[in-house]
Symmetry: C2
Subunit: 363 residues, 2 copies
Amino acid sequence: MIDPWSSAILNYEKLIEEFGIKPFHDLLGDLENPHILMSRGVIFGHRDYGRIVKAMREKNNFAVVTGMMPSGKMHIGHKMVVDQLIWYQEKGAEIYIPIADMESYSARGIDFPEAKRIAIDEYISNYIALGLDPDNENLHIYLQSENKTVGDLAYKLAKKVNLNEMKAIYGFSGSTNIAHLYTPLIQVADILHPQLEELGGPKPTVVPVGPDQDPHIRLTRDIAERFGSQFNFISPSSTYHRFITGLTGGKMSSSKPKTAIFLSDSPEIAEKKLKSAKTGGRESLSQQEEMGGVPEDCVVYEMLLYHLLQSDVKLKETYQQCREGSVMCGECKAKAAEMIKDFFKDLEMKREKAKDKAKSILN
Amino acid sequence: MIDPWSSAILNYEKLIEEFGIKPFHDLLGDLENPHILMSRGVIFGHRDYGRIVKAMREKNNFAVVTGMMPSGKMHIGHKMVVDQLIWYQEKGAEIYIPIADMESYSARGIDFPEAKRIAIDEYISNYIALGLDPDNENLHIYLQSENKTVGDLAYKLAKKVNLNEMKAIYGFSGSTNIAHLYTPLIQVADILHPQLEELGGPKPTVVPVGPDQDPHIRLTRDIAERFGSQFNFISPSSTYHRFITGLTGGKMSSSKPKTAIFLSDSPEIAEKKLKSAKTGGRESLSQQEEMGGVPEDCVVYEMLLYHLLQSDVKLKETYQQCREGSVMCGECKAKAAEMIKDFFKDLEMKREKAKDKAKSILN
């Protein structure tokens, strides 16, 4: 298996060892048409994913929950979750997408009407443009602030969580505002509410997250058990994906524009940004011809692996050409830049077409 | 003015001095037909009640908010608030009565359907039986858990309250559950939501409470100011009433049945309980004839003053006969017992008639 994160893998393995997250590759053989993010190891870990595998195999009801925080711009790293949703939608999952407008209010000071606007223009439009089927009746997109079922459940669940726990998990202090302090309970309810009787009752549910979200997953699983006798919740499953590297080598972040390719960037800007990205090239061409490049340290290669190259054969070829020193960064970048430009052209067109639909979903 | 609390008055005066609560009697002259609880000094203090006086005089819109906690049985002390509501209803107030089912869930573990049942059978039925007009369109009775306007406002307000404040006011600790911790914000929203644009906009609002609730009133007034520019809230006014003494001399409490006359007691039980109440009598009849009784220390006299004797002339007569030693406890008790029996007979009948109406209000 190709693994582009040799430098970072130790940390991910530590996560697996210390916190009981299981390696995802052990389950790969049980999956029909695993998503490339799975087969390529971007999704590296899970909790109780066996339940989801079983539900898919036996065509049983199951749910996927993953929120969007309407507080800024979507970058290409966010596409990962949408890709997974599309895959799950094809597998027949009930898809729940809470729009975390309560969180964006309490943590970022974004007012509710503004959050709704961002959710429509920036998020839902892109989700549809990326391929999520908005007409599938199994798709449930909602604003947290408008979902009374979720709000009611959050309050009920909050009775069996105490302040010490919240402080330990989220680092809250005396100056934390109470809305912010309460928000994680809303998120717990987002994850568990598809199992309420009125929504079809207990069912396996998976939450795709980054590893930084694991404490929240653990709390949710704990709470599910505490209310076991009342709601018969099945403890939710989770998957963990690696983060995408930013253009400058660190983390890709919407709040640091130089690190990110935004989905709303024009095709030309996206192309230009990719061309400026840090690669795994050597100090000189001759050195690189001799020693080969380091795709494991290359943002461009990562972009191909996560997003741009669907063919495993071609990806492997690219990897080998780099390692052998037979294709240099310039040529490789030019190809990738062409691909991202085409991708963004297509996305731009589809996003324009998706806007009315996106609006209608929340109205 | 007759004052039956000489023994306790010091504490109430301390409240007034230390916390900026103003004496209510200073406003009495400005009120048209003040309620006997006002004229007799049971309602002893206020904050910003001048706004309410002005609204009543000028026939402007104003609101009264007072919740009920559906967690047990109503005792005769609770009647005090209902009496005030009836008076305010006649004065043209918008009456808001939140049923604190969220609090009874988080603090007492009472489930929502059970809280609703208690609210209907035990509270709303009695409110109507005591004289609240259920058909007045200015009456708004609601379950907190079902009022999305209040829930949404609570969350918005929670953003400008931090954990330190909540701890200082309510004594929350690490083991406090998060639902319980969040509940005061719901109560703040109960008080402020009548001022939202959708409910007619900013208006003077009064909250009749016991002095133990003042920290909560102060928080609500602070929060109203913090959101001044956003909602233009008028800081809510409050009144403070003395507690009714329990049958055994301490506090009347639903959780200590021996101290309380419950509104659901049969007329005979009520009569019997009143006859067993602690009085201000002396150790012997001859001593009492000589020195007179102490109405200030007498539960029966207090019952007359709070509830049973509407006529100030007769009340004064009773007081003087006791002080002079011309009427002994036996005779006085017999009269009061007869009155409470009649009152409870009437109440029982009216409550039966009110039950369907009470149900329809919440359905």
